[in-house]
Symmetry: D3
Subunit: 340 residues, 6 copies
Amino acid sequence: MKVVTYGELMLRLAPKGYLRFLQQPEFEATFGGGEANVAVSLANFGAQAAYVTKLPKNDIADAALRELKGLGVDVDGVARGGERMGIYFVEKGASMRPGKVVYDRAHSAIAEATAADFDWERILDGADWFHFTGITPALNKDVQPDILLGALECARRRGVKVSCDLNFRKKLWDSATAGKVMAKLMPYVDVLIANEEDAYDVFGIKAAGSDVNAGKLDGKGYEDVARQLSQKFGIKTVAITLRESISANDNNWGAMLYEDGKAYFSKRYAVRIVDRVGGGDSFGAGLIYATLSGMDAQSKLEFAVAASALKHTVEGDYNRVTLDEVKALTKGNASGRVQR
Amino acid sequence: MKVVTYGELMLRLAPKGYLRFLQQPEFEATFGGGEANVAVSLANFGAQAAYVTKLPKNDIADAALRELKGLGVDVDGVARGGERMGIYFVEKGASMRPGKVVYDRAHSAIAEATAADFDWERILDGADWFHFTGITPALNKDVQPDILLGALECARRRGVKVSCDLNFRKKLWDSATAGKVMAKLMPYVDVLIANEEDAYDVFGIKAAGSDVNAGKLDGKGYEDVARQLSQKFGIKTVAITLRESISANDNNWGAMLYEDGKAYFSKRYAVRIVDRVGGGDSFGAGLIYATLSGMDAQSKLEFAVAASALKHTVEGDYNRVTLDEVKALTKGNASGRVQR
Amino acid sequence: MKVVTYGELMLRLAPKGYLRFLQQPEFEATFGGGEANVAVSLANFGAQAAYVTKLPKNDIADAALRELKGLGVDVDGVARGGERMGIYFVEKGASMRPGKVVYDRAHSAIAEATAADFDWERILDGADWFHFTGITPALNKDVQPDILLGALECARRRGVKVSCDLNFRKKLWDSATAGKVMAKLMPYVDVLIANEEDAYDVFGIKAAGSDVNAGKLDGKGYEDVARQLSQKFGIKTVAITLRESISANDNNWGAMLYEDGKAYFSKRYAVRIVDRVGGGDSFGAGLIYATLSGMDAQSKLEFAVAASALKHTVEGDYNRVTLDEVKALTKGNASGRVQR
Amino acid sequence: MKVVTYGELMLRLAPKGYLRFLQQPEFEATFGGGEANVAVSLANFGAQAAYVTKLPKNDIADAALRELKGLGVDVDGVARGGERMGIYFVEKGASMRPGKVVYDRAHSAIAEATAADFDWERILDGADWFHFTGITPALNKDVQPDILLGALECARRRGVKVSCDLNFRKKLWDSATAGKVMAKLMPYVDVLIANEEDAYDVFGIKAAGSDVNAGKLDGKGYEDVARQLSQKFGIKTVAITLRESISANDNNWGAMLYEDGKAYFSKRYAVRIVDRVGGGDSFGAGLIYATLSGMDAQSKLEFAVAASALKHTVEGDYNRVTLDEVKALTKGNASGRVQR
Amino acid sequence: MKVVTYGELMLRLAPKGYLRFLQQPEFEATFGGGEANVAVSLANFGAQAAYVTKLPKNDIADAALRELKGLGVDVDGVARGGERMGIYFVEKGASMRPGKVVYDRAHSAIAEATAADFDWERILDGADWFHFTGITPALNKDVQPDILLGALECARRRGVKVSCDLNFRKKLWDSATAGKVMAKLMPYVDVLIANEEDAYDVFGIKAAGSDVNAGKLDGKGYEDVARQLSQKFGIKTVAITLRESISANDNNWGAMLYEDGKAYFSKRYAVRIVDRVGGGDSFGAGLIYATLSGMDAQSKLEFAVAASALKHTVEGDYNRVTLDEVKALTKGNASGRVQR
Amino acid sequence: MKVVTYGELMLRLAPKGYLRFLQQPEFEATFGGGEANVAVSLANFGAQAAYVTKLPKNDIADAALRELKGLGVDVDGVARGGERMGIYFVEKGASMRPGKVVYDRAHSAIAEATAADFDWERILDGADWFHFTGITPALNKDVQPDILLGALECARRRGVKVSCDLNFRKKLWDSATAGKVMAKLMPYVDVLIANEEDAYDVFGIKAAGSDVNAGKLDGKGYEDVARQLSQKFGIKTVAITLRESISANDNNWGAMLYEDGKAYFSKRYAVRIVDRVGGGDSFGAGLIYATLSGMDAQSKLEFAVAASALKHTVEGDYNRVTLDEVKALTKGNASGRVQR
């Protein structure tokens, strides 16, 4: 089971606890990025995970790769060069105060990469799965869509399954551009992942009966959204995560899966949040792992939701949980009792 | 819009997280005090805020002023001299364990200040508003009431509006003394602010139908309290914050405003607390800002409540939130969703 | 009022906050162990508490004793020698992710102690009460049961009351062995303490109508359990703590007491957890203190439950709360309002 | 005494103590930059200091300005806009391991600023002195030299004295370009400051008899360098700092001043380094302050060297020392005895 | 061997590492004070040490006593009451930047204590030695000298030996007052301890040939000082510590002892300083311990100097070294090689 | 260039800075052990490094492996199982206070490993070099010597070069046993490494003219030692590191190499110590790397000494320096100047 993911890896700078930016003169300094997050989750589950990006030649990027290697991710396909590594500053939300992200990712090595940086034939050699997200084309809408098309065509030639997480970022591009670009990539996608807002932001497909800001989501409406996405682009499997945000501390978390014309709904978890960044990525990773493991539709949905519910209890972008921990949760024990 | 506040600034020493005093040999060291907190909030909203106190000439007090200046507060009116700066130690409460404050503020420079330290004519020159609290006269009941009367008479002469937060502190004085002293100051007050206990503690006016320790507050009863305060002292506007304390972590937070004989009730927020110290001060600042901005009664109440609800999510005495953040919350989005 | 407790003291290594093991290269380093926890609680309440264990002669063990002495515990009876001090690594749970304990306590000084290390006649001289738990015999099932029998017989001779907390640890021994060993010790026990799982794990006595992993406990069922324990071993007083684990963050906490054939049920607290390790120990200490203070059955149950509810809000194994704080809570104020 | 400085302000990210980059997942996060450092020093000495730069509109840049304001620097002339704030990562050297700087400053707001961002007539209104360094033109050699020429011509028109610190940075440009650009700016300079390497790196003027890497500097040779600089560009005052680097921990620190054709040499300090970044800037600030205070040549040199020797004992870019502390050192007490 | 010491215990607040006051918003929070420091040293060496002071009834003072008890100091004689606990802020010096102390100790419980607080007959019961310093009378020159006279007369009656450390603090009183007060206490003193400046500051006796600020001390001159002190007050033993302050990081440390008309000089240690506060106190403790152990003059001087040299390597006021560590150093191994 | 090392990996727990054990309740938690340290150094230089040990199956050991993988070390040959992972507590020395190590390594997985845990044929497949130290047989003198003999015979069969660092640990075994055991392993060794004390401690061969505790080492004496070692055991290359310990902060560091009957002496570095643990290991790694790179005798000695001098400036056991950094130092620049 070998999965390749491709996207941007950023230095993540965060104040401690619930402090606001620079309320104290220090940052927790870790790394993350949607596709790297997926790779780490997969490696934690025991899959062979390879991560592809471009990073500058400096000590900060070296540290990023050191951590990925330690977590078991193959980074041999990472191109080195370019001016800088993307950075994002993140402040944890609390109660009714929303979390805040300040991006400093312009001109990153990956945003200025070219097709010549990635030899997809070599990278996808032996791979079973290729994963990308809507963030990557947004980094450089002139170049990245073509790099991705190169990867996707190579994947198709080699019979590599493809998943895409729509992951709309309004600070990176607008809906019109996103819709146009993503539509070109959709035909290559086997499994499409979205959150409760992406389908509308990217393709204008709205879920009836839901109000995201009020934390009220209606499953039926999302079933329609998934069906439309599936039909419009001919995608076999569409999964939508459903986050009801009660506050920055408390969310209800679940998902629906639409596959072969049928909708499945997961158990819904009441989550007390430690760190919600990377929640969607951990869902994607769970879904890929479960699919490659041959689980049935309901089981793979439950596995992906349990994995990503657990992510919300882990600091940092990466989902530092084991296969056993996810399985234990899917078996129904969510009481959080100490094991000793 | 220029507001002057006057009171004590203290060094605040707090254990990290939920640790009890000196469970680890370190303190978070910040600064705060009711009236300084109000000044900082106002500066954050973009108002011109000046803060007046007396501080000793030493490096600790210098640091306190450095922070205020950085936050945009004018400290030109601060007198320097005296023996020491007040200190308070604060331990965060958790669940059914209440927060704990140990005061070490006796003999502070401001407690031993004299009328000669403050030239109110110069200080209030150009000011639109003057704010003080019931803590200041409690610091030195022989001298401070007279200093305050000097300020209040000067304010009246100059047409400067006056607000007062009753802020009863039972560790500083008793109800009988407080009642007598505060009654002398009330005739100068345009806007009176109190919490759910102050009116009773200072003036013996009790809200029927409420039980503070049980976290049950009855709005109607507080409307009566406000009316009595208004009528007794001829105060046009009386605002009362209403905290339902479910536990040290969870409070319901709202307020009522009594103005021109009419009562208004705010939206009530369920607050997961990061730091509740300064909650009342941030309400006062919100009310002053909203009033000077010309909002109507309901709007200014909602602004003040939203501002102070947000304060509960911010570490330290100061309410480090922006005007935009308060406005966004008053528009109804309390879901705490990350913006990116 | 002098109480002697006997058991293992461990170095406790824990990541900061909700971090997983070694997500950052540091550990909070404190000390704890069931019986030491009981001794600290008692000393905090003002009782004379003596703690007995065996520790190696090294700087780490010295630090452990330094802290106990500082907390007012008499450690004159601690034997020194042996190879090592037990260590346990503990990771805080969050939401549906359970807390995790990794034991590194094999070959500790106490696990390899012999009867010659403890002169019970001298240790129990002047004592009113002796407390042990089911952890100690599990440390070395060949030697510790005999050491304990020595202590228990000495206690009986001297008219010292005896309490035992069943405290089953499945990582230390299995139910069959535990049942056999503990049955031999029960005849000496005046007060037996157990949690909602212990009676089943050790003696196979199950509470009808409850599902521990689902966080649903039925009081009636536990009354039966207590009665059976009382009758089977002729124990006058049996107390069972009842933890409903909603998540790793939120538990409902209460207890029942069976005494002289009658069952008492405590108030139930909704607890937001800071650190739940040592929760049961703080209940035991509360019960011992209340009993020696001559409280009636319901009062001592309420005292023990309030003391242990507060423990859940304190970091570390030790229950750093005062007698006044426990009493204030038993009087009904659980609102967590700041006192100032 | 009003001094204006102009240049780049960066977020400075540094590991704690002597750790290498990301050996622990956190950074000390402060701010600094040559010209801001000069402004802070001057404000600490009691001078009126104004700092001009361009910063993006985000929370990180807001924090930077908050700190400068707190330190008493006037930041009203700071332009807001652009994509990002420059960042530099710095690792402290130890013994024979050199300190290390990783720049991430490309595409910063100031590097992409235009002449329209700065209204020099307004900025220099009332100023006595203007200070810049060789770092600024290196940030954007197409635009910054012209912006600087605009400032310099304005300064000349208004009779504002000008100082320049050569500050060659080989990671930003090469010697040939630097020499060409700086030669165009020199005719406006009244006081030129350089370190022991700059004159050679920028203008190819080498000090005979010295070996920088061996930590051996010959004063006579630098007198020649200063004379050549003075004569070549018609600069009245040339100051050269002389750092003998014994190791990353121990440096000898002194300077020479060449004024009106005469050379002065300072006392030489053996410095145990806490943080050497900003050492040269604190020298420049000391020289400007001393000159505006009307000290004679030897005195102003000694003041500047004492101020900058002290900087080496202060963490961060900014020289957090007072006028009194510098004066005490110039009077000869370098014994570091505690005052109590 | 039982020693009683009497004086003020303060909360000590210090920035981390070499940071200046409040450069980061936190303080290391420990405790210390000359006479408590002596008691802790003695307890570490295995002596019975009792410490007497007055402290307010609050959580901060409780923590101070907790630490002393943990370190083995008997605090049963500590009076409780009064308004506050003294505080001192201390900033570590570095290189030529001197350490800095800001006192906030006015109005402390001990400064406002009365004779009634201390029952010397009970306190000195069974004691072999009583130790005080010149700081205590300086705290309240109206009351403390009398309290001390009470203690000293009681000591004389009981045959308890008395040592005094002159410990002049110019921030607490002036030389004239100090001289007058201390002269009254000297007749009771058996062992007088002073540093290289005290004899001059208190009694105007200057050591010829030395220049303290230049870090040059002449042993011969101090022999004269000791002789004069001995003769003037009839004191058998006078010890003077000799600190040559090369910088805030590097000191040479030694001492001389004058006993029965003969002078002894110790080995001189080149000390790289970790924390020099409490250096003199650890010397005093070493001298008391060595004297009570019956060492000869040269040996007790060497023991005291080795103990206090080691103190300079320990963070905080207290000298956390063992008897074995001091003895190993007196045997000549100062190479600092790791033992493993 | 593939090197295999074999030995124990421990969790390393150290107080921050110069604090003594548990002066604050936390530990820096990293990993290290002589042979792992060598592997990490080699991987940093770009060599293929494989590390072999046995570790229990738990989260702590997982973290240790994660870090090694991140640093590029192949850990595929690590056996999993056993009871526990060795731990060592280390306290940094300062000035004349020596560093202190408390071992808690008894009963570790590797100490209780058996020959069956390691398949040397597979492990050494493709290897050029095998490295072990005298610590490993000391862990279990009944079993480890035989495991090592198995490895050494396999190495001989395969033509793999062998290096051994004598690394005597008096806390693990005595000289007599060490001498006997190591003598059996010496015949397989191609390169023998020792420090200034090992040859005497293990084989009783003393260097004339040196006094280790006084920090005085005589090169000539060590040449004799090396010659005797070489002749006695027929070892071609013997290297001895020469540490002159002036204090715990300052050491002189150099080495001598005896090869083919000729002695070479390195440059000597004056080292200001950050962390000296692992200094000898980094020398060994440097020597192995330089030898495999084909350097001549003097060059490889200088490389190894420069690499290990740099180690003293790096926190933790591992030598986090690059090949470029070592080469730059060997070229003579030890001035520690910042590069920017």
